[in-house]
Subunit: 179 residues, 2 copies
């Protein structure tokens, strides 16, 4: 496997849909092949770049665009960037696609009922209890991608299968050469 | 000349001290040698990462730390990052130094009187007229670096001389090999 050029693999989906798990599994596969990897996790980026921003539509869009700005800089220098962020709005994701160019959108399509059952950070519970407002999947919308490069249904497939699917797509698109 | 590893060259100094001019002159020299370069200009970064932040001490520090966060990501992937930002506070610059590791601080030490005479963006004039507040060099302080790797006195030396000085220092520190 050989890196050809940088790319941003953008994992979008509901909270607890499995984005971070997939990001780390994909990262391990690519790192094992000596590719330059950077994971941009929505929560981590929020701490470093978006302190003070809330969860209004405008603030969410700003946060997503900031991830896009950083993804763009890294991608143009040959890095394989893996973004794991809810990124609920189509317009902001499309802005990132345009900005970055080498962009592979992966829709982590896990049904909300399963996400809520997993509830990794206990946030669905809080949202249902009314302790937090504007939570994606509960009282804030998620706009599904219209033409994502990959769709992953984590409810029905293992992380390995999902990662294999993404790697194959990256090869088809010319971002890497699987040996 | 051969790149050895990434580094952030951080140009700090008063507004109109000559940071951007130096950044672009340095960038040209490094690009001519096929090195991967990224200029992070304080104003540009403000647009992309810090919309909504003002010029209070806290907001300025946040802005500088965001530049530091992005500089860190690029540097670790082998990029030569050139930052041109007033970055008036020692603590925030030191935070960036610690975060980034491969960090070369260049103090663009132009006397305030000369900066004000140049007044590239007409901001000193506005600050003197009271139209903008908290302007570094007029009514907000600039904390000079205590141990910068390079000091440039743009009032007395040409951009070429200054760039040569920075290149030599980068070589001394093992970031590049001048042929």
């Amino acid at each position: 496997m050989e890196a050809k050029k940088g790319v941003t693999v953008w994992l979008t989906g509901l909270p607890s849909s499995g984005k971070s798990t997939l990001a780390h599994a994909l990262s391990r596969e690519l790192k094992a092949r000596q590719l330059p990897i950077e994971i941009l996790d929505g929560d981590v980026v929020r701490t470093h770049l978006s302190k003070g921003l809330g969860f209004s539509r405008e603030d969410r869009e700003l946060n997503v665009k900031r991830i896009g700005f950083v993804g763009h800089l890294l991608t143009k220098h040959g890095v394989f960037v893996i973004v794991a962020a809810v990124s609920p709005y189509r317009e902001a994701r499309d802005w990132c696609r345009k900005q970055i160019g080498n962009f592979v959108e992966v829709f982590v399509k896990t049904p909300v009922a399963i996400c809520e059952e997993r509830d990794v950070k206990g946030l669905y519970k809080k949202a249902r209890a009314g302790e937090i407002q504007g939570f994606t999947g509960v009282d804030d919308g998620y706009e599904e991608p219209l033409n994502p490069e990959v769709i992953i249904e984590t409810a029905g497939e293992s992380a390995e299968t999902a990662v294999g699917k993404i790697l194959l797509r990256l090869q088809e698109l010319g971002y890497l050469q699987l040996s």
